[in-house]
């Protein structure tokens, strides 16, 4: 997913083309024409200052995320998203990574089709928050939603076709179904297209948000893949998630099983992860504050080479999000987690995140 200099130029050209083809017609100030045809450019950024009782104080994992969405008509659109993060080794922004790049067709709320590189819905956090640290309440991404290039274990990227929608009705039924290429030879890669395996990865997500339970939603997701690693693996993942977002309260919980099997052999590897996030926005003069707690667990099968570099997680973070402005947030937390040498590490962190 690393973008070469040539690819970077192509990305910029593509963004320019999107802008030309979707630019707002002069004088057309009616809402309808504004909806039908325009381009929007937005992004997020964050800076993280971390003090560890083991590693001292440092700047970590700061990112800039830029997305461009072109709306060609009432039904057709395209989106491209790239992310650049701060390389902890050389203290400069690393080359941008292509996160999402797809064309979308929306016929109704019940049917939307996306073709291209998208985020898989096997982890609901990944599907909802994508890469923005600004939008998510806590500083951290839970372990199961950690990016592959950040030593994450779950398959978060996918190239193919993704159909999704929501049916009107008291059950609030949502669905998503995908077919394409998922895992590559290395964990951070996406598999190349092959005539022998034109669509190795399959993804299915079903969810409900019943009107009888305002604010609640429940979902289950399954992911199947054939990993062209050496040795080749078969992947079968299952995720269950729920959330309650209403008024000032936010509760999110997710559990996931990641299972790999050697195709030639009977060995199977099972890894599990879950998290619970609770936050509550205060009221009155304190309404810009949202205290939160995040409990994060990751138990990986240590025998599996394919997950090499990914580490178990056993973390608790207690913090507060402060929103002095709509486009700027300040998060502070205390986090206890596993350290790289196997002991416990305690962190005090500040994250400044913004949207533009």
């Amino acid at each position: 997913m690393v973008v070469s200099p040539v690819a970077s130029k192509r990305l910029i050209s593509l963004i320019a083309v999107l802008g030309i083809f979707t630019s707002h017609p002069a004088g057309a100030d009616a809402l309808e024409s504004a909806i039908r045809r325009f381009v929007s450019i937005g992004g997020f950024g964050d800076v993280n200052l971390v003090h560890s009782d083991r590693q001292g104080t440092s700047l970590q994992n700061s990112e800039i995320d830029i997305y461009v969405t072109g709306h060609f008509s009432e039904n057709w659109s395209a989106q491209i998203e790239a992310i650049a993060d701060r390389d902890p080794e050389v203290h400069t922004l690393a080359e941008p990574l292509l996160e999402r790049f797809y064309a979308g067709y929306t016929r109704s709320d019940a049917f939307r089709l996306e073709v291209g590189q998208i985020h898989t819905g096997i982890v609901a956090w990944n599907e909802r928050e994508h890469r923005s640290r600004f939008l998510q309440t806590p500083i951290d991404v839970p372990g199961i939603a950690r990016r592959e290039d950040r030593n994450g274990a779950w398959p978060l990227h996918f190239v193919g076709v993704w159909a999704s929608g929501r049916f009107n009705g008291s059950l609030g039924l949502t669905y998503g179904a995908g077919l394409g290429n998922g895992r590559g030879r290395e964990r951070g890669d996406i598999a190349n297209f092959s005539l022998h395996h034109p669509a190795r990865a399959k993804l299915l997500v079903l969810g409900i948000a019943p009107e009888a339970l305002p604010g609640w939603s429940f979902a289950a997701a399954a992911y199947f893949d054939h990993i062209p690693a050496s040795p080749a693996l078969r992947e079968r993942d299952l995720t269950l998630s729920t959330s309650y977002v209403r008024g000032n309260q936010e509760l999110r919980a997710e559990w996931s099983l990641l299972r790999h099997e050697l195709i030639e052999g009977r060995t199977a590897f099972s890894s599990r992860g879950w998290y619970v996030l609770f936050s509550q926005r205060l009221t009155g003069r304190w309404q810009t504050l949202r205290p939160y707690i995040l409990i994060d667990r990751l138990n990986l099968d240590q025998r599996e080479d394919y997950l090499g570099g990914a580490a178990n997680e056993q973390a608790v973070a207690v913090g507060v999000r402060w929103d002095p402005l709509r486009w700027f947030t300040w998060k502070t937390d205390f986090r206890a987690q596993n350290s790289q040498d196997g002991g416990r590490e305690h962190l005090v962190r500040v994250q400044l995140a913004f949207a533009f």
Binding site: A30, L31, E32, A34, I35, R36, F38, S40, G42, F44, Y67, T69, H71, E74, N75, S77, Q79, G104, T106, R107, S108, D109, E114, R128, E129, H130, S132, F134, L135, R166, N168, S170, E211, P214, G215, R246, G247, N248, R281, Q287, T288, D323, R326, A355
Partner: protein, 158 residues
């Protein structure tokens, strides 16, 4: 002096019945669409999903254009507390997220004042907004909520 003051007030209210009525009547809110919109009724749950950016299309597939009252207005406060049940910050950030996710084409248009809101909605048959039922003006009409008209018992926005 007192008698003169009372007389002056009596004359003022007699000449300006509309002012007197407005002063006595607290605003009641209703969802409005353009006169040219084919939509007549929404359930309260549907209305909430529209203002949350979850339901994004009208029957037939056309995109919904959401228009919201200006920041700090009573109508906006009503929208936040009674319909979407979110703080203003969470509401704004939620729409940033919906645009980012590709779920909606754009965030709601924020009207400068009630008249601006009325004009925006009157000009588009895919727009929806919220306004004081007593002061709708030309070109727009109130939607029924749960098959109840504004003022009827059971109307969802009271």
């Amino acid at each position: 002096m007192t008698r003169r003051a009372i007389s002056a007030f009596a004359v003022f209210f007699a000449v300006c019945p509309g002012f007197a009525a407005t002063a006595e009547r607290p605003p009641t809110y209703c969802l409005i669409v353009s006169d040219s919109s084919p939509i007549r009724n929404l359930s309260f749950a549907e209305a909430r999903l529209i203002f949350l950016g979850v339901r994004t299309r009208w029957p037939g597939g056309r995109q919904i254009a959401v228009v919201i009252p200006p920041e700090g207005s009573a109508a906006r406060q009503f929208l936040l507390s009674k319909i979407v049940d979110l703080s203003d910050i969470d509401f704004s950030q939620r729409w940033v997220g919906q645009v980012y996710r590709g779920a909606v084409a754009r965030a709601p248009s924020t009207a400068r004042n009630p008249e601006d809101l009325r004009k925006l909605i009157a000009a588009s048959d895919v727009a929806i907004g919220i306004a004081d039922c007593h002061d709708l003006g030309p070109g727009v009409r109130a939607l029924a909520i749960n098959e109840k008209r504004p003022g009827e018992p059971g109307y969802g926005l009271e």
